[in-house]
Each structure stands twice: as structure tokens, then as C-alpha cells.
């Protein structure tokens, strides 16, 4: 009887495990936005998984200070995924399109750190996925009447390292201070 109970427990854990993994998955499912490609004036679709990340890392020159920084930043990452759509006219995407992303970001682990609403720039939301005290993922959701952009970084994102990229390789000046993260906490 005891053995049967143990087996049942293991069985239940095995069944529940995928659900738990799904619940805290730092990777967002962005396929729901694919239908916007036909309507968009311009589409950016970036899918760099861990394998490609490692391959790309081999091309960074460690002797070069700038590239070494990028290499350090992406070293622990599991993937970067971007979907960005720019439209000629307003109203090309619906609130439901955004909701599919927000629903995923309302799952356990995700915390909305910043939510900026601006008439000119639209709505900007920054989410972080925490695994305990460690950041396990980052998501940026930007929507204005003519644009929708979702950035999803999977893995331990180091905001300090990200800030250190500013001004390099075409990366604009961020102005993120090293202490900003601590201030936010």
C-alpha cells in the first residue's frame, strides 16, 4: 500500500512537472503575433536560441573590450526573441494580440517592473522573471498605434552588463546607472 502511494506520488509529480515548467517558462510564445506580418509595413523577427547564441559568441573577439562585453552579456543567456511590427496605419492590431502576451507575463515568476504610458511613445512595459533572487528572463512590450514590439530575453539578464553596452555597436546611450537596479529594489 505504501509502495502504491509512493508510485502514485511520483506519477502525479511527473504529470505536474510539465505544467510547472510551463508556468515559469521564461520564453514567451510569440507565434500568436505572426498573423500581423501580412499587415505590417515592416517586420523584425529575431530568434536566437542557445545554440545560435553559442555559435555567435565564438565570433566575438575577447581581446576587443567592446566585443568582450557583449560576449560576457550573452554568455549565460538561453535565447533572445524579438517580434516587431510597424504599420502604415493605425488599428492594424487588436487588444487581443497584446493580451496573449500579457497573459503569459502574468504567470508566476514574472513581475512588471515598469509600465510607461505616453501619448507620443505609446505603452511601454518591462517585465522581469525572478527565480528566487536571480533574474531568469526579461520581456519588453512596446505598443503604440502603429507599432507593436515584443522583446524576450531568456536567461539570467545582467542589467549592469546591458547598461555597459550603451553606445557600442549601434546600441544607443541608455543612461542606465549601475545603481538603478538597486534603487528599484
Amino acid at each position: 500500500m505504501k509502495a502504491l502511494f509512493r508510485i502514485n506520488l511520483i506519477l502525479s509529480l511527473l504529470i505536474a512537472l510539465p505544467l510547472v515548467v510551463q508556468a515559469q517558462d521564461p520564453r514567451l510564445q510569440l507565434n500568436s503575433l505572426d498573423h500581423l506580418t501580412a499587415k505590417a509595413n515592416q517586420t523584425v523577427d529575431v530568434n536566437v536560441d542557445e545554440r545560435l547564441m553559442k555559435m555567435a559568441s565564438k565570433l566575438f573577439n575577447e581581446k576587443d573590450v567592446d566585443e568582450a562585453q557583449v560576449k560576457k552579456l550573452v554568455a549565460g543567456l538561453k535565447g533572445i526573441y524579438v517580434r516587431s511590427f510597424e504599420f502604415e496605419t493605425e488599428g492594424q492590431y487588436s487588444a487581443a494580440d497584446l493580451q496573449t502576451i500579457r497573459t503569459q507575463l502574468s504567470g508566476p515568476g514574472w513581475t512588471r517592473m515598469v509600465n510607461v504610458t505616453s501619448k507620443k511613445e505609446g505603452n511601454l512595459e518591462v517585465y522581469l522573471l525572478f527565480n528566487g533572487d536571480v533574474v531568469g528572463g526579461l520581456a519588453v512590450l512596446h505598443s503604440d498605434p502603429k507599432e507593436i514590439t515584443v522583446v524576450n530575453i531568456v536567461g539570467p539578464v545582467d542589467l549592469d552588463k546591458l547598461a555597459s553596452l550603451e553606445g557600442q555597436f549601434g546600441v544607443p546611450e541608455l543612461g542606465i546607472e549601475k545603481t538603478k537596479k538597486n534603487d528599484e529594489k
Binding site: A56, I80, P172, G175
Partner: protein, 169 residues
């Protein structure tokens, strides 16, 4: 009456005792091999059922993960897809001006033709170069958006305060 028969079966046998001996003698210990009860046939059905359930659960999880991974297409390069436009001639200008305005500003030309490590094959090298381009585009876009957030959240300069005060007043 002597009780020797009762103690050591010597002397005159007592009829009553003999009679009792006959009756109880049937219950006397008789050496014989141990006869254990036949164990009942063990049924393996519950164990098999559990094993089958576990297998099914594992299979289902595997299939689910596979389908989930397959449903997420992973193109190997960044795409900039122009939408069909009534005036075809203007399209390239629109794209170049809109796609990556920062690219022209800060592309690192120093490392454009850096030799790639020899460990990668030609195909891998091409793949890695594409991945690097994608990576840089993604980082550029990410930092651009974060920069925007930063500007918005830190937009409490004295100039704005005065502006707001002026509006209110």
C-alpha cells in the same frame, strides 16, 4: 493403587488411563514435513497498470514538448519584410529610413572583416555570422526600448517641471 503407570508406564496399567491415552493419542505430535499454506497467485496487474500510466505520462510530456518546440518556428536570420505598397519605387527608401536608423551611426567597422575562428565549418560560420547579426539587432532593439523606458521614467527634469507648472498655472 500404585501410580507408577501414570508416571513411567510401569506396573499395573490403569484402564481409565489407557482409555484416555487412546483418545488423546490421536492428537499426539507426529513428525511430518512442514506444510505451508499455498501462496496465492500474485497479481501483477496493478504494477503493470502503474508502469503503463507512467510510460503514457512520459510519452505525453515528450510529445507535448516536441509539439511545443515545433510550433515555435525559428528562422535563422532577421527578416525585414516590406508590405506591398502602391508606389513600389518609394519602398526601399522607406525601409532603410525606418528599419535601423542607428545602424549607420554606430556600426563598428573595425571588426567587419575579422577572421573567424577556424574551428567552425563554412556553413557553421555563415550561420554564426547570421546569428551574430540577429543578436546585435536584438540587443540594439532591446536597449533602444529600455532607453525609451529610461527616458520616460527619468523624465523629471526641472525644465519639465516648469513646463508643467506653466500648463497648470
Amino acid at each position: 493403587m500404585k501410580d507408577d503407570y501414570l508416571w513411567d508406564k510401569t506396573g499395573q496399567p490403569d484402564l481409565e488411563i489407557q482409555e484416555l491415552e487412546e483418545i488423546l493419542g490421536k492428537l499426539r505430535y507426529q513428525p511430518r514435513p512442514l506444510d505451508l499454506p499455498v501462496s496465492r497467485q500474485r497479481s501483477y496487474f496493478p504494477l503493470l497498470a502503474i508502469a503503463a500510466s507512467v510510460l503514457l505520462a512520459l510519452l505525453a510530456a515528450g510529445v507535448w514538448l516536441r509539439v511545443r518546440n515545433q510550433s515555435a518556428p525559428q528562422p535563422q536570420q532577421a527578416e525585414v519584410i516590406p508590405a506591398p505598397s502602391p508606389v513600389e519605387e518609394k519602398k526601399p527608401e522607406q525601409i532603410t529610413s525606418k528599419v535601423v536608423p542607428q545602424e549607420v551611426v554606430a556600426v563598428n567597422h573595425r571588426h567587419r572583416h575579422r577572421p573567424v575562428p577556424a574551428a567552425l565549418s563554412k556553413q557553421e560560420r555563415e550561420e554564426a555570422l547570421l546569428a551574430k547579426q540577429q543578436l546585435m539587432m536584438a540587443l540594439r532593439l532591446t536597449t533602444e526600448k529600455l532607453s525609451l523606458v529610461h527616458r520616460k521614467t527619468q523624465n523629471t527634469t526641472p525644465a519639465n517641471q516648469i513646463k508643467n507648472q506653466h500648463r497648470v498655472g
